[in-house]
């Protein structure tokens, strides 16, 4: 009750905090410092997210909660530093209940840090080293709470599959039969969120084309614990790339590809004799498109993924989504997203074929209101249904209040 009262008071305050030089603008200025005749500039910024979920068990996506009403606060701090015109550094740290929403205790993480060197003014080449989001696809630029029209990620970034990077299955039956939808962190999605793995990237623009390629220490499906260089070395790196084509500012098309070993070191004893982690790979092909015109933005991504599974063979899946956001007024926007993931067949091990996951579709509807340039409220409803197998359904209601500073 106190929390609700406090939130209501804060909302009332923010509704009137529209003075252009309000407190958060002043804070923004205060948290920007410069030295050496402005050639070194640092800015500390961040967001405070207060998220609430009313969910149906098993919790959908990567929400790891056994309780139906989950409160998931998050403090995110960013450091951006520009040194001259060619060197840029950024870092992102979070204090929350886990990388994905969970009912666990608080933890602090350094999620991203990277040094970027841009030798030429025209942006033809950029080199980046550190721990940072993948170059694959077009979701990454809007994955943070302030920019994402929704509270969660598209299905392909959070729908766990029967793939587990912790242990190899003993048989096809074991592969499909051991999957438990509520054992979140035992399994992996095709792409785990923005995949803040560690590595090096090159990127740039050549006319209407842009390119990006990276070598990371773990595959796209790898869990957040695997992204750190202290946890996973570069013995089995993942190679990811995206080629983009922008005929004009309205349209943007991209083709992505990824190839990386997805097992963690602790899975090694469970692998077939004579085989190593590097023998079992996640291969992903992706196509993305985006459209932006005045108050309308549309995004779409299509992913074809293949996991090489011990004792099973190739496990294929296809996932896609269409997403649209429209600003009805300067402060009110709505968003709609249709997601689907389809699973291929594997050899059942008893002479036939078996689907290795249940096809499912999900529709996400969201509305957002920006009270000020620094405060935003989003509400979301999601309905998910399996289209094969038991045809389970799942409803999710979520709210997220964000303060950006």
């Amino acid at each position: 009750m106190k929390l609700l009262r406090g939130l209501a008071f804060f909302l009332a305050c923010t509704a009137y905090a529209t003075e252009p030089d309000d407190f958060l603008d002043q804070l923004d200025t205060a948290l920007t410092i410069a030295a050496f005749h402005d050639n070194l500039r640092l800015r500390l910024s961040g967001t405070i997210d207060l998220e609430g979920y009313h969910l149906q068990q098993p919790a959908p996506g990567l929400i790891d909660s056994r309780i139906d009403n989950l409160f998931n606060p998050r403090l995110t701090l960013f450091l951006d530093a520009q040194m001259g015109s060619q060197i840029y550094f950024f870092a992102q740290s979070r204090l929350d209940r886990g990388f994905d929403p969970s009912d666990h205790g608080a933890q602090v993480r350094l999620d991203e840090y990277a040094l970027r060197i841009t030798p030429w003014e025209d942006g033809r080449f950029t080199l980046q080293v550190g721990k940072f989001a993948t170059v694959v696809g077009n979701f990454v630029p809007r994955h943070l709470s302030w920019d994402n029209p929704f509270i969660n990620a598209p299905l392909v970034y959070e729908n766990i599959t029967a793939i587990s990077d912790k242990a190899a299955p003993a048989s096809p039956q074991d592969f499909v039969g051991s999957f438990e939808a509520d054992a979140k962190y035992e399994f992996n999605p095709v792409i785990w969120g923005p995949s803040y793995a560690t590595g090096i990237s090159v990127s740039g623009r050549l006319g209407r084309f842009d390119y990006a390629a990276e070598m990371k220490n773990s595959a796209l499906s790898s869990r957040p614990e695997s992204w750190s260089a202290t946890e996973t070395d570069f013995d089995h790196p993942s190679f990811n790339a995206r080629l983009g084509f922008r005929p004009n500012q309205i349209w943007n098309f991209g083709f992505s590809a990824s190839d990386g070993a997805y097992f963690r070191p602790e899975a090694e004893p469970t692998l077939p004799r004579g085989r190593g982690i590097g023998d079992f790979r996640e291969l992903v092909l992706g196509q993305d498109a985006s459209f932006a015109w005045h108050h309308l933005q549309v995004w779409a991504e299509f992913y074809e993924a293949r996991f090489e599974v011990p004792q099973v063979g190739d496990a294929d899946t296809f996932a896609y989504y269409f997403e649209a956001k429209y600003k009805f007024t300067p402060q009110l926007f709505g968003a709609l997203r249709w997601n689907q993931q389809l699973f291929g067949n594997i050899n059942s091990g008893v002479g036939g074929k078996a689907r290795w996951g249940q096809d499912l579709g999900r529709i996400d509807v969201a509305a957002g209101y920006r009270f000020t340039p620094h405060t935003q409220l989003k509400l979301q409803y999601s309905y998910q249904q399996q289209t094969t197998g038991p045809r389970d359904t799942n409803h999710l209601l979520a709210a997220q209040f964000t303060v950006r500073f």
């Binding site: 529209t18 003075e19 252009p20 030089d21 603008d25 200025t29 920007t32 410092i33 410069a34 402005d38 050639n39 500039r41 640092l42 800015r43 960013f78 951006d80 520009q82 001259g84 015109s85 060619q86 840029y88 950024f90 992102q92 991203e112 990277a114 970027r116 841009t118 030798p119 030429w120 003014e121 025209d122 942006g123 950029t126 940072f132 989001a133 170059v135 630029p141 994955h143 990127s203 740039g204 623009r205 842009d210 990006a212 995206r242 983009g244 004009n248 500012q249 932006a292 015109w293 005045h294 108050h295 309308l296 933005q297 600003k327 007024t329 300067p330 402060q331 920006r370 000020t372 340039p373």
Partner: protein
């Protein structure tokens, strides 16, 4: 060339709707804040393609204007605030109520200019450099309007909407000269930032130049 005209127009922007009465001159100096905010740092975390470059600095400036009861503008005035090198140009633009301000995009990327200021709430959506007609907004309420870009978080610009046709932007040292003024008793104001406006009563005489400083 187009930009140079823009800057010079905004720097010496003086309106004289009734030249028959506009004879007095007031000049002086505004004591500007010595320390200024450092130039912004652009967040480039998730941009695959980033250009180099140091964003322009923004020295403090003030707007000096004659407050009083003046007739509203009879001619439709059009001004411009461009987006160039991911910054607003000019960063501060005083206009009279009723002025239309165009927002041409001179970068080779999208911009999405918006404001939630009480004096004017608007959102122009995403638009290209070649967008025609140039997106524009009529400013019909006096007050300070903070301009932002929904795509480039670091961008900030200001439009000061005034109910007087007599105003000028100081130079970087705070000096100003406001000419073509009507004779009479008025209040001369110096807007320095959103929280600081200084004022002084002035008596303007036809053909005379009044020297007034804002310490």
């Amino acid at each position: 060339m187009h930009l140079r005209v823009l800057v010079s127009v905004s720097a010496i922007c003086i309106f004289a709707p009734n030249s028959g009465l506009a004879e007095a001159i007031v000049e002086g100096r505004v004591n500007l804040p010595k320390s200024h905010a450092p130039p912004p740092v652009m967040a480039k975390r998730y941009e695959i393609v980033t250009n180099g470059g140091v964003l322009a600095t923004k020295p403090p400036l003030a707007v000096v204007y004659l407050d009083g009861s003046f007739p509203t503008a009879t001619s439709h005035s059009i001004k411009q605030v461009a987006q160039k090198d991911l910054a607003f140009l000019p960063p501060l633009l005083p206009v009279q109520i009723g002025t239309t301000v165009e927002f041409p995009n001179l970068d080779d990327t999208y911009h999405n200019i918006f404001s939630y200021s009480p004096a004017k709430r608007f959102d122009l959506g995403r638009y290209r450099p070649e967008e025609r007609p140039i997106p524009s907004v009529v400013f019909d309420v006096a007050g300070l309007v903070t301009l932002r870009c929904d795509i480039h978080e670091h961008m900030r610009g200001l439009i000061l909407v005034l109910n007087t046709p007599y105003f000028v932007i100081t130079d970087e040292s705070g000096r100003f000269r406001l000419s073509g003024l009507p004779a009479g008793h008025y209040t001369l104001k110096a807007w320095i930032d959103s929280k600081t406006t200084r004022e002084q009563p002035v008596e303007l005489k036809s053909g005379a130049t009044l020297r007034t400083d804002f310490p």
